[in-house]
Symmetry: C3
Subunit: 265 residues, 3 copies
């Protein structure tokens, strides 16, 4: 079976940089099958990338090679990594955008630093390691090069701190961590930590409590209704049935969210 | 030959939901070849989806499996369908976004309701049947599972009413049904119903008649000229040569269009 | 190995026109592997297309077939071409968007005009030769049809004049030729023509000289710093570290750029 390589970048759709990476990969391994995951990670937005990867990569089978290029430190002395975590294999800058994947995993990741220039494109541009290092390394891996040929194991890497929800006065305080293209607000509050469907909801520091309906799915409420539900990734989600909650509530990634269980706040 | 599966959704480009569906499919059938058709159907816009599918799917050969996820009713009791129409095979929510494909077809579609959870991902999320039902069913189909294993035949399904043009006082009254990314306005008026090139054109309820040129192709007119022509899908189209008609005329899907043959209106 | 066909268009992401081309190609050659390069070339923008193709296609290996549909002259008597340049094979309208690829090539391109309707889809729409001519011809080529069967060799074709930088009073005057999705401004000034890191920079006709830092990569400067560097394609680039230079400096493709080596201007 021809090997699969996925691409996730912040290059923007229509970027010639993505096209160049594809050319480099199929130039080294013409049999590689390429899958675009996203090229719309907001520029240099590591938290967005972290949420994206955690929402997408666990659905993939073993052996797929995932190339991630969200790389504000390109050309500096930040490392580039090969990561093996359970069944996942990633090539990714050492900026922590992948470390959310470790949460919930029983095993520790095996991490190597890419130091072997034999598998790179030469000369290496100072601003485009995606094309000159990550893409060719992915292609060589897909041809059967052993990970240990890429560079030495390392035991330390950058961890990305993701905001954690906390319990306070019987309420849970978290935040919006992802706004999907429908405008649905995915929070960092795991739905299975809720003792019961919440009775109150605050969104934003100064916003008054909101009337909402607790639903199982959008279609249970009339179009336009503010609803709270369990997202498809198991987190508390705030949405507007057939509408755009982000626009209506002027919320975005980082907006604070509080849920409680008493009507009077 | 490895099976082809196409994806059409309203998830937005860069959505982790699309990436998750891809992971689920290649997890079940690693040999599946995936083709993105569009992830920019406007959210829950069934008419847009209907026009898109009718403009794209008939060009595909048999055996391709088309997965369509425009699904405002996700998680409610709306059905999910397997549709076989002539050579086309679709997996699609029962909301009518595919029924335009039937127009002009000599044969009736064969439709099954997906009821067999054996081919689904478990647990099934209430808000993401694309990932948990349609994607795995597509992958199983691509592995050779027989359609009849997916669920029973049904004889009724939702039909989407698309606006039909009508003749009135020697004029044809229709509407814009699709604005393409160039800003060209595709109408619901089949060009082969026109007795002659129209001499008058109204766009919008209150707009005065417009000066325009009847052309065979955009390049026949000077840049900036308002032109009327036969679209590549055989419908009356309003465009601005090397310009954006939607922006210039402030038109959009649903804008009324009238064409007539007498200069004085 | 199954043949690779890439697609570059100005159709916009989510366009049913792209989907239709994919259907036509796999309808003729079900084994063809399709790669999207970009569908976001700005409508009819030949210079953007020229920069895109020059930045992307040289990274691809031989035998790949590149289909380019940026075609303001569709349906007029402009020709459609098969181009063989070094290892590259293109199918492209005769509007010059590919001729930048010739610069720096030792060999002359071999060019044929597509005249053989046997390899086209019938009937040919006047407004969509991508679907009806270029896509089917690409599919037939990928099946092994010889280029000479497509039409006769031609010795003349449209050349696109790209703006060239010029030396004046010890300064180099060029312009922005591409704004990437990060807002980085790629100029037409080859970095290897600079005698030394520039000491002054003007952007726009009336803009005062700008304070900036000459860096090797973005990460060398504090976020928000205006930097000048060598782009990954070897040209002078103006950027804002972790910011958007196009937005901050209100620059776009065509904005004049002057660099000099004396502080007093």
């Amino acid at each position: 079976l021809d090997p699969l390589i996925t691409l996730t970048t912040d290059f923007g759709p229509g970027s010639p940089y993505v096209a160049a990476m594809k050319g480099v990969i199929v130039g080294i391994n013409p049999a590689a099958r390429l899958l675009d995951l996203s090229h719309r990670i907001p520029p240099q937005d590591l938290r967005h990338a972290a949420f994206f990867l955690r929402s997408a990569l666990p659905y993939f089978p073993p052996k797929v090679i995932h190339v991630v290029v969200v790389d504000p430190g390109v050309g500096t002395d930040r490392a580039l990594l090969y990561v093996r975590l359970d069944k996942l294999r990633l090539l990714v800058p050492d900026n922590g955008c992948w470390t959310e994947l470790v949460r919930g995993s029983a095993r520790l990741p095996l991490v190597r630093r890419l130091t072997e220039p034999h598998f790179w494109r030469q000369p290496v541009s100072a601003t485009f390691h995606g094309r000159d290092i990550l893409a060719p390394v992915a292609a060589h891996l897909s041809l059967g090069v052993k990970p240990k040929a890429l560079g030495p194991r390392v035991e330390e890497w950058v961890h990305l701190e993701m905001p954690a929800p906390r319990m306070e006065d019987g309420k849970i305080r978290g935040e919006v961590i992802f706004v999907d293209p429908f405008g649905n607000l995915i929070t960092n509050i795991p739905a299975d930590t809720l003792p019961a469907p919440p009775a109150e909801l605050r969104l934003g520091e100064k916003m008054a409590r909101r009337r909402f309906r607790w639903v199982r799915t959008y279609g249970e409420a009339e179009p336009g209704t503010l609803v709270v539900l369990v997202s498809s990734s198991g987190q508390l989600e705030i949405a507007v049935a057939q509408g755009n909650a982000a626009r209506r509530l002027r919320a975005r990634a980082g907006s604070p969210v509080t849920v409680g269980w008493e009507k009077a706040m």
